[in-house]
């Protein structure tokens, strides 16, 4: 009997924990006839630090970790190309693209790790308390909390004033007007109770953020062949194909709550979107350049392949 340790940085009430990780562990425990057991360390435990997930699993302190590619920044330059603005606003498409590209283009970034799944959330929105944003001009000088350097840079280009802030402090900062808004998908809007202090939501679908779910290779190799087969059966494609629906379902409550509260939800208009993309072109070029400077010579090729895979996914959904 083996007990595997899993760590992640989300509170144990999050869908990642309740809908994805816990059921996954139960499937494998059942499949192995109880041979493999799990112990999960979520946010609030010492192993729940968002910046340490990759390192912990590499060092073998935990056997499996779920974390963000972007923190600490720069560790997954290839995978993080999925963060480029306006690539896709669909969790399903982004997760599909990452998984399709993994063997040929991204594998190098996961040496020593058995990759169980890669995924990304639905396009984030711009949520504001007092000011309704529809155009680039509306953004001018707004203080906006952002989740990542890529989004910070994007907002700077658009004229806003990005603020780094721990998620737990967003509610009070919005309530007091220390910030004018925040960039988030719907799911944290619901879980942090932000609909109480927000009024407007601009569905800009401009960016996504990606996650890894990985196992220490030595831990995997130490499993019996039957156990390995069980892990394989419930990971990879079996997991990745579910993230589109999962993220949709995690986003629904936040959106419904906003509608029930009478908030205004606006889509970014097509002309406006074109203006934003044009404004952001220099930023995208320099982002690609940074990735190339980090030693990824085929950054353009990977970016193109991501676009192709996303188009492929969208096309398959149309039929």
């Amino acid at each position: 009997e083996t007990t595997l340790k899993i760590s992640h940085y989300l509170p144990s009430v999050h869908g990642i924990h309740t809908d994805f990780i816990v059921p996954w562990t139960e499937q494998i425990t059942e499949c192995t006839g109880g041979e493999v057991q799990f112990e999960i360390f979520p946010a609030g435990t010492q192993l729940g630090n968002v910046a340490r997930q990759q390192e912990q699993v590499m060092a073998g302190v935990v056997d499996i970790a779920h974390g963000l590619h972007g923190i600490p920044r720069g560790r997954f330059p290839r995978t993080s190309l999925i963060d480029m603005p306006f690539l896709t606003d669909s969790a399903g498409a982004a997760s599909y693209a990452l998984w399709e590209l993994y063997p040929d283009y991204l594998a190098e970034e996961y040496k020593g790790l058995k990759v169980l799944a890669l995924h990304a959330h639905n396009g984030g929105l711009l949520h504001t308390n007092e000011k309704k944003v529809e155009t680039m001009e509306d953004m001018d000088g707004l203080r906006i909390r952002t989740p990542s350097p890529a989004v910070s840079e994007m907002l700077s280009y658009l004229g806003a004033d990005p603020q780094g802030l721990p998620p737990g402090e967003v509610y009070e900062s919005l309530q007091r007007g220390v910030i004018d808004g925040t960039v988030f998908p719907w799911d944290p809007v619901k879980s942090f109770g932000l609909n109480e202090v927000l009024n407007y939501h601009l569905d800009l679908g401009a960016y996504t953020v990606s996650f890894f779910y990985v196992m220490n290779q030595r831990s995997y190799d130490a499993l019996s062949d039957e156990a390995k087969a069980c892990v394989d059966q419930y990971s990879g494609d079996a997991l990745v194909s579910q993230f589109g629906d999962w993220w949709d379902s995690w986003d629904v409550p936040g959106r419904e709550e906003a509608i029930a509260a009478g908030h205004e939800i606006t889509e970014l208009s097509d002309e406006e979107r074109a203006r934003w993309e044009e404004t952001l072109q220099p930023m995208m070029d320099s982002y690609l350049q940074t990735v190339k400077d980090a030693g990824v010579d085929n950054a353009d090729e990977i970016y193109q392949a991501m676009q192709d895979k996303i188009a492929e996914y969208e096309a398959s959904r149309q039929n």
């Binding site: 390192e55 923190i71 600490p72 920044r73 720069g74 560790r75 000088g141 203080r143 990542s148 350097p149 910070s152 004033d161 603020q163 780094g164 802030l165 980090a294």
Partner: protein
């Protein structure tokens, strides 16, 4: 020996002063940002800078806390113990402190090397993570010296008493 101890004390107090100056810089950067952003001149990456100054300050003042024996302990049980136990207990505490600090320094150095090898940087400004680690390495190394200096001084006081 006294000269060495004097030098060590000088180093430790200088680092402590430097650490508090770092705290002061954290405060000044924040206030400059608060005022600046009212006029559209925010300080970019202020969170990164404040973290750098506070983390730096915290590690630079650490040896001083050991030297001045500022670390709290519960005294009332020890007071009632036989006098003869005072010296062994002090030595025991000193050895444990040195062991813990020494392991932290050793493993901290390895972690520092891993993180700098990854090329980690701060989230907003991209400040190399090494800058956040140098104060930790210095602070832990000098804390080891501080424990020894404090232990020697306090054993001497014990011997005189």
């Amino acid at each position: 020996m006294n000269i060495l101890a004097g030098l060590a004390r000088g180093l430790i107090t200088a680092l402590a002063a430097l650490g508090v100056i770092a705290y002061g810089l954290a405060a000044l950067v924040t206030v400059a940002d608060i005022i600046g952003r009212r006029f559209g001149l925010p300080i970019e990456g202020v969170v990164d800078l404040v973290q750098l100054f506070v983390v730096g300050g915290a590690w630079l003042v650490m040896p001083y806390a050991f030297l001045s024996a500022a670390h709290v302990s519960v005294d009332f049980l020890v007071e009632n113990m036989p006098r003869g136990l005072a010296v062994p207990l002090k030595l025991f505490a000193g050895v444990l402190a040195l062991g813990l600090l020494g392991l932290m320094l050793w493993q901290g150095f390895l972690t520092f090397r891993t993180r700098t090898m990854f090329g980690d940087t701060s989230q907003q400004l991209g400040i190399p993570i090494a800058w956040y680690w140098y104060p930790l390495l210095v602070g832990l190394a000098v804390s080891l010296i501080a424990v020894v200096v404090e232990l020697t001084a306090s054993l001497r006081r014990e011997a005189r008493a």
